[in-house]
Symmetry: C2
Subunit: 177 residues, 2 copies
Amino acid sequence: MSKTDSAAAPAPEGLMLPVPGVDYGLLDGLLGYALRRAQNALYLDFHRATAAWDVSPQRFAALVLIARNPGMRQGLLGQAMGLHRSGALRLTDWLTAQGWAERRDAPDDARAWGLHLTAAGKRRLAQLEAAVAAHDRTLLAGLGEQGPALKAALDRLAWVATAQSTTPQNKPRRQTP
Amino acid sequence: MSKTDSAAAPAPEGLMLPVPGVDYGLLDGLLGYALRRAQNALYLDFHRATAAWDVSPQRFAALVLIARNPGMRQGLLGQAMGLHRSGALRLTDWLTAQGWAERRDAPDDARAWGLHLTAAGKRRLAQLEAAVAAHDRTLLAGLGEQGPALKAALDRLAWVATAQSTTPQNKPRRQTP
DNA sequence: TATTGTTATACTCTATAACTATA
DNA sequence: TATAGTTATAGAGTATAACAATA
């Protein structure tokens, strides 16, 4: 279909690090802004680490999820990644267009697909996982002793922010509003 | 003049929290994925905290920057926020369309603008800052003792990731402080 | 009637490239 | 020649809505 199937430069944004001479006001003290800066830097760094394949973090995550949960539905993939069904569809379309994933009939539900990685997808994932894991180890090494604590604090932060914004019931999944 | 000038629902994405029964493989152990999850949760939570005004984190940051650096150029605004010139243009266009910012001639360079907040922009910023600061305090309170350490670790992480990806000779835009 | 996936469409964000007007 | 900003366009990502097939 499209000729931009394989690699289309997923729009790497510019750096958000503090510019000397600019007063950031309360932004410099906000947890949320620090998080955004860090995520921006990591996003760019992820691209560098996986430049040979040009796969976005999201597509990489989808590969991992399908590999670890063979036969999972598109809807579940979207749910796990915070995507709408239509987004999960486009993501799956892209993966199948690469020849890395395929849709098979779900055994228990004729409406649904079961997602599986192809042999090529498994090989590509193995390469990506090696690069990403090495990349993450380098980051952790750069953080020193703070690393593991940071990871734990981030997990907790995601939970805290969610607990705030959702009603007292623990309902992380999205329901019809 | 679009009719969606004031509020256009900046696409709040779904939650990315772990779905029970789904195996996330190495994603669960990655610093980068934890960061993405946390940022996703905070993004949604920011929207909740500022729902009364419907201003995105980026637009809020632009307001703060202009307020603290009156007369700053569009280009510098973009640089501080990791945006291309065209992105800084559209951001400024939006702010001026709201009546919150205005372009004035730069005294020293006839090519450039100096950006300033209007009185309405200052009032709106004051409201937003109060809401955002309260929101951030709530997050910190939820984190307890980990909070300040997390903030420091995030600042460091952004620096570590950038130091890695920045090649010695290729200077992206600016130098590290 | 509800759910799974699809199709079609629209909107946001960001980037590139060519253009102007200054420097 | 280089820079600040603009214009036009393209691409990725996400959402909504209506639809078909199945539960």
